[in-house]
């Protein structure tokens, strides 16, 4: 008998391919754009949050989402729905109750995780491109284990979206009573997009119906899950659109408040 049945050996060698990646397309472009986009947005938001001015247009009751609700003792009265109970040190953001939760909601978002793991952490920078680390434990231990708290920040973000909606409704105002201008369209558009982003969240999709084993026994939740699933496909686009609408809304309110431009009024 010339043959033997052999046991598989231990670890066998992979193909010895010298090049770290053989991809010929521009795989580095997407992570690069992500780094540029997120860095620019965070820089703008940081400057605005610690500026402590130009967040409120008294005549039209426009309030930027970066200062909603305003809770420090330096806030103007119209901007503070929930009182002014925090000290007005410059390091305390005026929306200190909401901004940390919004930041954590986006930081633990399943889309943003993909975006920053790929672009900032290079783990991996692109598919079939080696990651930049010698060891890897993923989200199995602290601090990345904390990503599992995403659904709590989703609950917080849903409440904050309600507050932003209230702000957008209060903004239908002019010195003569009811009023309506370009700023209202921008505020409303921002709120609609914020709701779309918040509802399209993967945690929301799970809570609303994804956790069920039998859809047939919960037809209403099944329909809600189907709706959220359709939005969920666009979660990445909504994540970027809302960054854009937030910055645009804030910039518009700042420009009107600082009197760089006049609000385009349609009614009053």
């Amino acid at each position: 008998m010339t043959s033997t049945a052999m046991r598989p050996r231990g670890t066998r060698a992979r193909a010895a391919i010298a090049a770290r990646t053989l991809r010929t397309d521009r795989w580095w472009l997407a992570p690069l754009l992500t780094v540029v986009g997120l860095t620019a947005w965070v820089a703008y938001a940081t400057v605005r949050v610690f500026m402590h001015k130009w967040y409120w247009v008294e005549s039209y009751h426009y309030l930027t989402p970066f200062y909603s609700p305003c809770v420090t003792d330096r806030c103007v009265e119209g901007a503070s729905h929930f009182g002014r109970f925090l000290p007005g040190w410059w390091i305390v953001p005026d929306a200190a109750l909401t901004l940390p939760f919004l930041l954590l909601f986006r930081l633990t978002c399943y889309y943003y995780r993909k975006a920053y793991y790929r672009s900032f952490w290079l783990s991996p920078p692109a598919c079939a491109v080696p990651d930049g680390h010698t060891t890897y434990s993923g989200e199995t231990r602290f601090p990345l284990l904390g990503q599992n708290l995403h659904r709590y920040f989703f609950y917080a973000a849903a409440i904050i979206s309600l507050i932003n909606t209230w702000d957008a409704i209060l903004a239908f105002h002019s010195p003569k009573g009811f009023g309506f201008g370009l700023g209202n369209i921008i505020l409303l558009g921002n709120v609609v997009m914020l709701w779309a982003y918040t509802i399209s969240c993967h945690s929301c999709r799970h809570i609303i119906g994804g956790r069920l084993k039998h859809f047939s026994t919960s037809p209403v939740r099944y329909r809600a899950w189907t709706f959220v699933s359709k939005l969920n496909v666009r979660h990445m686009q909504l994540a970027w659109i809302t960054l854009g609408t937030l910055a645009l809304t804030d910039f518009y309110v700042m420009a009107v408040a600082a009197e760089w431009i006049d609000d385009l009024r349609f009614i009053n």
């Binding site: 052999m6 992979r14 956790r211």
Partner: protein, 365 residues
């Protein structure tokens, strides 16, 4: 389309290829110039190379229709099915580089040893039949099964397993990480309306290494069946784990209202204890399956599936005197191809070695 506007792959056009040739002892990229005709795919070109310049080029293939999952390789650095990669997607002056899958040990040329995936498949607990429903009486509504059905489209090409950086870039994670293909298997069964196990999410977290996934979505990008692996399987499984393990409200609710403590199937109850308290597994030891020779584990196995039993190691097929598979059975000492399971494995396997526990098996004993 090429730069000069002529259709790529026009009859008789010569195109440049670089193909990795070698085995576990080393190898390199070799240049070939080969004829490409209109409408051809990369696998056609590899077959033409086998017929002309490189008759000993090894490559695995079967259906040429993107449904068998055999011809996985890396084309210009991207994991793809070669039978589904059209030559018209490359420009005429482009050199096409073809290499074997990087994540698995190479056997020869473009053929890799993907047995890692079969080991992980054996470790994944099978469908657990519901109690009190005889086979043949299973009835399910379409809305209940359609989520699981998406994952049944999997053709097991293992492109997702290959591209996943958790094991592609970190070989040491292989024992602890099952990979995207087995996360969709876990999700398929956890979402299955008739599956009786209630501990699949704990299993996915503690034994399959779900936490290693950082949802960078490469598995979804390479899937030739377009299964939304990350959005529809991995993230829902992560959320289901959060339900059980990281959600203090759910924990409190289950303590106060005793929710979520439904009686478990025979198969589930034996496994649950072991999975939640399991420590680090030994490298290379299969977690369950039977035949371990450990009497206490076997007794426990009679009551259900013990995920920590050691599986007898599979044997590789018989080889000839040079230690390699015979190229043809004419030069071999037996008729037909050698068994991929090894000559010392006979079928059917003894039932006590199978990873399956019927809910009513206790009644028979």
């Amino acid at each position: 389309m090429g730069d000069n506007g002529s259709p790529a792959g026009k009859p008789g056009a010569k195109r440049r290829f670089r193909i990795w040739r070698g085995d576990e002892n080393g190898g390199d990229l070799r240049d070939y110039t080969v004829e490409v005709n209109e409408g051809e795919v990369v696998l056609d070109v590899i077959h033409r190379l086998q017929a002309t310049d490189a008759p000993d080029l090894a490559c695995r293939w079967n259906c040429k229709a993107g449904k068998c999952g055999s011809c996985s390789m890396e084309i210009n650095g991207k994991p793809r099915l070669s039978c589904m990669t059209r030559m018209s997607t490359f420009t005429e002056d482009e050199t096409v580089t073809v290499t074997p899958l990087r994540t698995f040990p190479v056997i020869r040329d473009l053929v890799t040893d993907v047995s890692f995936n079969y080991e992980k498949a054996r470790e994944t607990p099978a469908f657990a039949p519901p109690e009190g429903v005889a086979p043949g009486d299973y009835r399910m509504q379409q809305v209940d099964v359609e989520r699981s059905q998406e994952f049944r489209k999997c053709i097991e090409c293992f492109l997702c397993q290959n591209v996943c950086h958790v094991i592609r870039d970190h070989e040491e994670n292989k024992p602890a990480f099952s990979g995207p293909r087995y996360f969709i298997r876990a999700a398929e069964l956890d979402m299955h309306p008739l599956d009786a196990r209630t501990d699949r999410r704990e299993y996915a977290q503690a034994e399959q290494g779900l936490g290693f996934c950082n949802i960078t979505k490469c598995c979804t990008e390479v899937c030739p069946e377009h299964i939304k692996i990350t959005d529809n399987a991995i993230i829902p499984m992560k959320e289901r784990v959060v339900d059980r393990r990281y959600d203090p409200l759910v924990w409190l609710g289950s303590k106060i209202f005793r929710r979520g403590q439904e009686p478990q199937s025979t198969a589930g109850s034996a496994g649950k204890e072991s999975v939640v308290h399991s420590g680090v597994r030994q490298v290379g030891v299969h977690s369950h399956g039977g035949g371990s020779g450990d009497p206490s584990a076997e007794v426990q196995a009679q009551k259900g599936v013990n995920w920590h039993r050691e599986v007898p190691h599979p044997t590789a097929p018989a080889v000839d005197a040079s230690g390699k598979l015979p190229l043809t059975e004419l030069t071999f000492d037996r008729a037909a191809a050698p068994s991929p399971f090894g000559d010392d494995v006979t079928f059917p396997l003894p039932p006590e070695h199978l990873n399956f526990a019927h809910p009513s098996q206790d009644e028979k004993h």
